[in-house]
Symmetry: C2
Subunit: 116 residues, 2 copies
DNA sequence: TTTAATCGGTACGGAACCGAAACGATAGAC
DNA sequence: GTCTATCGTTTCGGTTCCGTACCGATTAAA
């Protein structure tokens, strides 16, 4: 079932959601960081640095730095792939799952408030 | 008419929209910049630096810098308020309106692709 | 007219980020 | 065992951003 939404509603939804993120206590993530976070939590594993870099169309250090920052925030973690120790597997965390869950609930509640 | 959307759909929608922004040619705006841009284009004027800072819960220099950056990109412009020359009024631009319009269309098309 | 309040912008030191390039570690080919 | 390719990370110089504090300009109050 596709979601029915008008351009103006889309913008208003994104607007209020962005405002909530900026105003919130948690440090607001950059667009790149958010894209990485959602990729990890919405797409089935495994996730590697190289794979994420290709998916986002950015260089590897961008991913490494974003993982450093979000790792420090506890939103995700890294571990070596035991099968191929060159790889690093990006894993979900409990805190990260809660964060993403709150994000989804936030959008839902903002969407419910939308007028035509 | 409120928009009906589930948490998972919300996250998938934000995910694909973020990916589009990151992958796009245009430099991807930060969450704060996007919040400012949408505030200016969705809320009736006038918009001042101080007002935006209060609305977003950030300091003035954050707004000044964001206006510098997005002004350089042609997404909005500044001009002194002739009524009270201490104020700076933030104004919309043609390029900015087109950018925001594309953003709305992008979300709509991504929403249409969503499965349950 | 002097004083105080209010605007946006700037200076500052520190932090995070950028892409390109080089690096060590690991794995596979020969 | 020796190359070679492929990982993720680090280094590099340069840019952008952060909040605090201060500045010049403008307005309003005394």
């Amino acid at each position: 079932m596709a979601v029915q939404i008008s351009p103006l509603q889309s913008l208003r939804l994104w607007h209020s959601a962005s405002l909530d993120m900026v105003r919130g206590d948690e440090p607001d993530l950059s667009t790149r960081q958010l894209a990485i976070l959602l990729e990890v939590y919405l797409v089935p594993p495994p996730h590697t640095v190289r794979g994420l870099a290709a998916k986002l169309g950015v260089t590897k250090p961008v991913i490494t730095r974003a993982l450093d920052t979000m790792g420090r925030l506890g939103l995700l973690s890294r571990s070596r792939d035991p099968k191929d120790r060159r790889n690093v597997l990006i894993k979900r965390t409990v805190d990260g799952a809660l964060f993403v869950e709150r994000l989804g609930d936030l959008v839902v509640s903002r969407a419910a408030e939308l007028a035509t």
